[in-house]
Amino acid sequence: MLRFILMRLGKAAIILIAILTLNFFLIHAAPGDPAAVMAGEAGAADAKFIAQLREQFGLDKPLLTQLGIYLKGVLQFDLGYSYRQQMPVADLILDRLPATLLLTMTAFVISLVLGTAAGVLASARVGKWSDTAISTLALLFYATPLYWAALMAVLLFSVYFNWLPGFGYETVGANYTGFRRALDIGQHLILPATTLGLFFMAVYMRMTRASMLEVSQLDFVKTARAKGLKSGIIQRRHIFRNAMLPVVTLAGLQAGQLVGGAVLTETVFAWPGIGRLMFEALAQRDYNLLLGVFFVSAAMVLVFNLITDILYRFVDPRIRVA
């Protein structure tokens, strides 16, 4: 097991380096450089000023040298310095990461729990009107553009009914502490997490439903019925567990992707996460910061894949014992 994890980590490291390298070249291929942006923001600049900035950031060195320096830093767990924010990239990201994780993991749990529950329910009533209703509803959520749903949710629940805060991470300035603060954050979390979660719920719902139906056709289900087991037990113990295998795989892929993919939600809900950080870094060509965000979100994907694989080993004895 340990060996397996180490192997996987090694492989992940290689993928990460590859991703960083690709992105490094991509970003440098883009027009514009951070010095110009910063000069621009300063309200005035001359060639000397820009040259100063470029030198300060090491942008005057050959590209490959820059890449080398960067990767060397990364290998020593140093993600570099953000040009624009004048802070270590790692600090900036760590600052924002909890918010993103909170949002995406809540959304993830919502989507997984609701999705599988709905999927199981629908599969149990396949062909009946309730199946159609559940499936259609899920499909509707899936077909709704995320940002649009978010806008409508803000309009409805925040502006019109004024039930929930429509943006932000917490009530700024309220200085809540302890439980009160958690409650406050929780309230802020409801809208973004639900809109994000409902979208992905559809994916799990469809997958669970299909998988349940597929598994219920398998021979061992017939065996179980021949034993005289109650259909509830058969559903739970035999069909559900087997049907969850592909869902687990999908969930592992999704959970990681969510972290880097919450840009839209974070934008609409003004959620201080790394998705937004990335978007800002991109517009400002804050190379190190952008690469850092990519690094972290790709690492998240890999971590979640690894967790899935480990989980999978627990669920599926064929892999565990082999």
């Binding site: 027009p31 514009g32 000069a39 923001e41 001359d46 060639a47 950080l277 400002q284």
Partner: protein, 495 residues
Amino acid sequence: EPVTGGRANVVIQPEPPSLMLGLVQNGPTQMVAGQIYEGLLRYDEKLQPMPQLAKSWEVSEDGLTYTFNLHDNVKWHDGEPFTSADVVFSADVFLRETHARLRTSLEHVESITAPDDTTVVFKLKQPFGPFLGIFEAGTMPMVPKHIYEGTEYKSNPANNTPIGTGPFKFAEWEKGSHILLTKFEDYYEDGKPYLDEIYWHVIPDAASRAVAYETGVVDILPGGSVENFDVQRIADMENTCITDKGWEYFGPLSWMWLNNREGPTADKRFRQAVMYAMDRNFARDALWNGLGKVSTGPVSSSTRFYTDDVNQYDYDPEKAKALLEEMGYDGETVRLLPLPYGETWQRWAEAVKQNLGEVGIDVEIVSTDVAGWNQKLAEWDYDMAFTYLYQYGDPALGVARSYISTNIAKGSQWNNVEGYENKEVDDLFAKAAVAVTAEERQKLYDEVQQKLVDDVPVAWLLELGFPTIYRCNVKDLVTTAIGVNDGFKDTYIEK
């Protein structure tokens, strides 16, 4: 009567990269750090200098020697006393290295000296008309010598906990969320500031900012915080005041760079046609919610030495068509760069495209992000491009730079980007800058404005109005030409 106590909740957008005003001078930094750092002077709505760190000043007859007398009880936020040595260090050492805009102005300065702890003397090489206009915090912020001298300025750890002399000191910065400033108890002006603290809320989405005001989370929306479409709706709310004052020093003027070097835009008639083809009144009403003014030329009406005695380009598509006909425009596509600063600018580009399309000019919008836009301008890779620039109260500081031929150089978007070359204009600007009397300067600037408006080196659009919206019980928010940027010193909240 001012009341002490209370908190101001203000929106800040975008989040400033740093609060060290000596190193970074972008808009949001100036707004927040303007409470932390101070300059020697402030300016009233008429751009007349007012005391700040300098309680008084004299200018010699010949216009070459400027003497400033400083307050003697000023302390830095860390308790160290502020003296003339700090001024000399800031202006002569620190800012010369870090502040590109100031550096240009300081080229006129021969020496900066401190005869005693509360006196500073600037000696100029030759008279420089706008010199008294460069002492506000954003242009010449005072930085603590005892912290920065001999260090690597940009990586000094103190940059994260800025130390100034201003009415508020830095307390906390939750990145992506808020910045908190608290009252500086040892401030040198008695009883000021009135507020206990200022919360700057980082809310990156314009609609969210509007909601934040509506739901009472914030009380002050500095200019540009909400989309223009929202201004009226919010202004109509109860207990809400709105002012478009506080931008006089900056005099933000928008225009389209027109590439004078090549393509159809190299032809003066084409450029004039562009001016006639644009319905700028519509743009102001539809996009800017009726705020701001249609510009008459290169100088903002709030800037000194403005004149409206120039050719007027009213919306007249027929005239535009005639001009195009005359020059024999063949329908060549021109590329238009919008300003990547939000929806309004995007819409504006679309409206201009539509306007120009109606007189037969084929426009293609090239969309880029901030970095791409900067680069394209700096590399002159455009045909037409939106922008807006500050004027800093005086044509010599904020106008000439865009039109004089010595300022044509790739690599910057703050100079003569359009590539306009006119010897007469160069001469007039040069003379006007060093002329001693205001009358003399006015005459020269009248002439140069008329010439420029005839040549249309760039297509002027609007003098932008950036209204500040606030609850009416927030008093004395905008008291100077710099508005919110240094306003909180006087602000109090009525109970």
